[in-house]
C-alpha cells in the first residue's frame, strides 16, 4: 500500500477510535465532576490530607488552592532533584544541578515538561517516578479542575461558590487519569514498551540506557505533559517501538481534550454547545495536519530527524497532535522539519493551545476565546454580548483578555530579549532564519506550556533556564487566575433567557466567528515574528 494511503487510513482509525469513546468517556467525566458521592479511596485521601470535601470555595480561594498547590509542587520537585544522590536507582547520576532542577520543577508543575535535561545522564528512576510522574498526573488534573470551575461559572446562578479545588483535583487524578493510565500502561508493555529498573541493556556489545518507561509514557501522553523518560522522547524505540504504540500514544494525547467538549456540552445541558467546539478544534487540527504532512513529504531531507518505522505520515500526525495539545512529546525532531512544516507546529502553539489544547487547558482556552468572539460579534451588531445565557460585561471581557494576552506578552518579551543578547548565537544549532525560529519556538513552547523544542538550541545557560522558567510559570498562572476570576463573575450572575436577538452559539455562524478569532488573534500578534523566522525560511 502506498505510504499516503496507509497514512490516511491511520488517521481514519484514530478518528473512529476517538468517536467511539467520545460520548461514554465525555459523559463519564461529566459525572465525575458533578457527582456528590466520594469513593472510599477519596475519603481516605481527604482524611489524610485534612481537607473538607463538603466545603465549597469562592473563586479566590479556588485560585489560592491552585497557586498553593503549584508552589509546594515546585519546591518538592526541586528538593527531590537536589537530593537525588541519596535516592535509590540514581546510578551515580548525582544531584541534579540547580539550574536544571529549577527549570524542570517549574516545567513539570506547569504541565510544560520542557526537557532541559538529558534523562539518560541526569535523571535517575526515583526522581522520574516519585517526582516527574506525579506531576504528570496532578498538573493535568489541575488543568481539568480549572476547566470544570469555568464551566460551573456558566451553569451556576447567583452564587459566589465554584466548587472545591481539592475534590476536583483528587477526582480527576483518581477517577479519570489513574484508571486509564494503568490499563494503557499494560497495553503499551504488551506492545513492546519497556518497564525496567536497570540502568542499561547490552545490545550487540554496546550499552543502551533503559528505564521504567511504560508507566510514565502513558501519563506523559494522557495528561498532555510530554517530558520524555529518555532523551529522544517518543522517538526512542523503548518509548514508542512501532506503529501500534504510536497510534495508541496519539490517541492518549487526544482523548481527554477531545472528550472534554462532550463533558462541557453535557454539563451545560446542551450538547450542541460541545459539538461546535470540537468542530472548530477538529477543522483547525485537520488543516494544520495537512500543512505539516504535505510540507514534510516535499522536504529536501525528509528523513532527517525521523524514525523509519514512522516515516512521513506517522511523524506528521504526531508532530501536529503534540503541538496542538500542549503535550510536547515528539516522535521526530521538529528542528529538522522544513520551514513550512516546522512553522506549522510553531503556529499550532501560537494559536494558544486550543485545537484541541491540553487536558482542561484546551477547554478553558477555547471558552475564553468564545467569550472574546462573542464580544467582537456583539460590537459588530451593537448588542451586549452573551454566552450561554451569561452577559459578558466589562469584568468578564477584561478577564478573558488578560487570559488570552498573557501568553503572547511573555513569549514576545522573552524571545525579543533573547534575540538581542550578544551571547545568544552561541547557543543556537542553526544560523539565520532557522536560528530565530529556534528562539521563537523555545519561548512559544514555554509560554504555552507545550514543552516540545527545536531541540538544537542549547537552553542550558542560566539565562535560558531562568527566563524560560519564568515564561512557563506566568504562561500558566496568569491565565488560570484570570479564568477563575471570569468563572467567579459568571457564577454570580442570574442567567438571561435567550431571546430572538440572541446570537445562537451552536451553528456554523458561531463556529466561523470562533475559528476566525483563534486565527485572527494569533495572526495579529505573531505575523511579524513569523515573517522573519519560518516564513522567510519557507521562501528560501
Amino acid at each position: 500500500m502506498p505510504s499516503t494511503a496507509a497514512g490516511l487510513l491511520q488517521v481514519g482509525v484514530l478518528v473512529a477510535a476517538l468517536a467511539a469513546v467520545y460520548r461514554p468517556f465525555g459523559d463519564y467525566m461529566a459525572r465525575v465532576y458533578s457527582g456528590t458521592r466520594h469513593s472510599r479511596v477519596e475519603r481516605v485521601i481527604y482524611r489524610l490530607a485534612r481537607v473538607d470535601p463538603a466545603s465549597e470555595q469562592r473563586w479566590s480561594t479556588y485560585a489560592f488552592g491552585v497557586l498553593g498547590f503549584s508552589f509546594v509542587g515546585i519546591v518538592f520537585l526541586y528538593v527531590l532533584q537536589r537530593v537525588q544522590s541519596v535516592l535509590p536507582f540514581d546510578y551515580d547520576r548525582g544531584n541534579v544541578p540547580e539550574g536544571i532542577a529549577f527549570n524542570t520543577a517549574v516545567s513539570f508543575v506547569t504541565n510544560t515538561n520542557w526537557q532541559s535535561y538529558v534523562p539518560e545522564t541526569v535523571m535517575g528512576h526515583a526522581v522520574q517516578l516519585v517526582g516527574l510522574t506525579v506531576q504528570n498526573f496532578v498538573s493535568a488534573a489541575v488543568g481539568m479542575a480549572v476547566a470544570v470551575a469555568l464551566v460551573r461559572g456558566f451553569t451556576r446562578q447567583r452564587t459566589d461558590r465554584l466548587g472545591n479545588f481539592w475534590v476536583d483535583l483528587v477526582r480527576g487524578t483518581i477517577r479519570v487519569l489513574l484508571p486509564v493510565a494503568f490499563v494503557f500502561a499494560i497495553v503499551l508493555v504488551a506492545l513492546g514498551v519497556v518497564m525496567s529498573f536497570r540502568s542499561g541493556v547490552d545490545v550487540d556489545g554496546q550499552t543502551v540506557a533503559i528505564a521504567p518507561v511504560a508507566s510514565q509514557e502513558v501519563i506523559k501522553e494522557l495528561g498532555t505533559n510530554g517530558g520524555g523518560v529518555l532523551n529522544a522522547n517518543s522517538a526512542h524505540p523503548f518509548e514508542n517501538p512501532n506503529g501500534w504504540t504510536n497510534l495508541v500514544e496519539v490517541f492518549l494525547i487526544l482523548v481527554i481534550p477531545v472528550c472534554l467538549t462532550r463533558t462541557f456540552g453535557t454539563l451545560v445541558g446542551d450538547r450542541r454547545q460541545g459539538y461546535v467546539l470540537i468542530g472548530v478544534m477538529g477543522v483547525l487540527w485537520s488543516a494544520m495536519l495537512t500543512v505539516v504532512w504535505v510540507a514534510e513529504a516535499h522536504g529536501l531531507r525528509p528523513l532527517e530527524g525521523k524514525e523509519l518505522r514512522f516515516g512521513i505520515p506517522s511523524s506528521a500526525l504526531f508532530a501536529n497532535t503534540t503541538t496542538a495539545t500542549s503535550t510536547g512529546a515528539v516522535n521526530s525532531m521538529h528542528d529538522s522539519y522544513t520551514g513550512l512544516g516546522g512553522g506549522a507546529t510553531l503556529l499550532n502553539m501560537l494559536f494558544g493551545e486550543m485545537t484541541p489544547g491540553g487536558v482542561g487547558t484546551g477547554l478553558y482556552s477555547i471558552l475564553v476565546m468564545a467569550v472574546i468572539a462573542m464580544f467582537l460579534a456583539g460590537l459588530m451588531v451593537g448588542r451586549t454580548p452573551e454566552y450561554l445565557g451569561k452577559k459578558l460585561g466589562r469584568r468578564e471581557v477584561t478577564a478573558a483578555a488578560v487570559s488570552i494576552l498573557a501568553m503572547p506578552t511573555v513569549l514576545l518579551i522573552g524571545a525579543g530579549v533573547t534575540a538581542l543578547l550578544p551571547s545568544t548565537p552561541g547557543y543556537l544549532n542553526n544560523s539565520g532564519e532557522h536560528g530565530l525560529t529556534e528562539i521563537l519556538y523555545a519561548y512559544a513552547s514555554a509560554s504555552n506550556n507545550n514543552g516540545s523544542a527545536f531541540a538544537g538550541i542549547t537552553a542550558t545557560s542560566d539565562w535560558f533556564q531562568a527566563s524560560l522558567g519564568v515564561c512557563m510559570a506566568l504562561g500558566r498562572i496568569v491565565p488560570i487566575v484570570a479564568v477563575l476570576c471570569l468563572a467567579g463573575s459568571l457564577a454570580a450572575q442570574r442567567a438571561t433567557p435567550a431571546t430572538a436577538g440572541t446570537l445562537p452559539t451552536t451553528g456554523p455562524l458561531f463556529a466561523s466567528v470562533l475559528g476566525g478569532s483563534v486565527v485572527l488573534v494569533a495572526a495579529l500578534t505573531f505575523v511579524p515574528a513569523l515573517a522573519l523566522g519560518p516564513i522567510a525560511e519557507a521562501l528560501l
Binding site: L129, T173, A235, G339, A455
Partner: protein, 180 residues
C-alpha cells in the same frame, strides 16, 4: 495571605498523599504486572531488536547514521537549509557509495540522514538491497541466502496500516551471525 498559606499547607498534604498513590503505588503496580511471563521479556528488553547500534566491519549490515552521543539518545536537529550539514550528508553519501561500489545517486536517503533517536533499528529495503553483495562477499554466505535473511527481517506496518515498513538491522545481523 493567610488564606494562601492555608491553601499551600493543604496542598502539601494532598501532594504527599497523591505522591504515594501516583508515584509509588501506580508504577509499582504496572511493574508488578509487567513481571507476568508474556510481558516480562518486553519489559526488560531481553535480546531486544527494538534498537540498533552500528557494528563495524564489512560482514555486517550498517544502520542509519546516528547523531546521538551515547548514553543519551537523540538526533542532529539540523534544519534543511544548514549548509554545513549539506556537506556532512554529501560526505556520507560518497562514503556509502565507495563502500558498496555503486554510483552516489543510488544511495537512498535513509542511509545518509540521522534518525530522531540515533538508535533507529530500521533501514529501507533499498539500503538493505545495496548492502547485500558486500555482506555476502565478506561473510562467504551466498547472495540468495543473504537476500532471504533480509526478507525475513522486514517489519511490516502494524495491522497493515500503522507506520512504515523497514528492515530490522539488529534482527538481520543476528540472523547472519547464526547462519555463519
Amino acid at each position: 495571605m493567610n488564606n494562601l498559606l492555608k491553601q499551600a499547607l493543604a496542598g502539601l498534604r494532598v501532594l504527599l498523599v497523591l505522591t504515594v498513590v501516583t508515584g509509588v503505588l501506580y508504577p509499582t503496580a504496572v511493574w508488578a504486572v509487567s513481571r507476568l511471563p508474556g510481558l516480562h521479556d518486553h519489559a526488560e528488553a531481553v535480546d531486544t531488536t527494538l534498537v540498533a547500534v552500528d557494528r563495524e566491519g564489512d560482514e555486517w549490515f550498517h544502520t542509519r547514521p546516528s547523531a546521538a552521543s551515547p548514553p543519551a539518545s537523540g538526533g542532529s536537529n539540523k534544519g534543511e537549509h544548514d549548509a554545513g550539514y549539506d556537506a556532512v550528508v554529501a560526505e556520507r553519501r560518497a562514503a556509502v557509495a565507495r563502500r558498496e561500489g555503486v554510483p552516489a545517486d543510488r544511495v537512498p536517503d535513509d542511509a545518509v540522514t540521522a534518525s530522531a533517536s540515533g538508535l533507529d533499528p530500521h533501514i529501507s529495503a533499498a539500503y538493505a538491497d545495496l548492502q547485500v553483495p558486500r555482506v555476502a562477499r565478506a561473510t562467504g554466505l551466498g547472495e540468495d541466502l543473504v537476500r532471504r535473511l533480509v526478507a525475513d527481517s522486514v517489519d511490516g506496518r502494524g495491522g497493515g496500516v500503522l507506520g512504515e515498513p523497514g528492515v530490522n538491522v539488529t534482527a538481520l545481523n543476528r540472523a547472519l551471525a547464526a547462519a555463519r
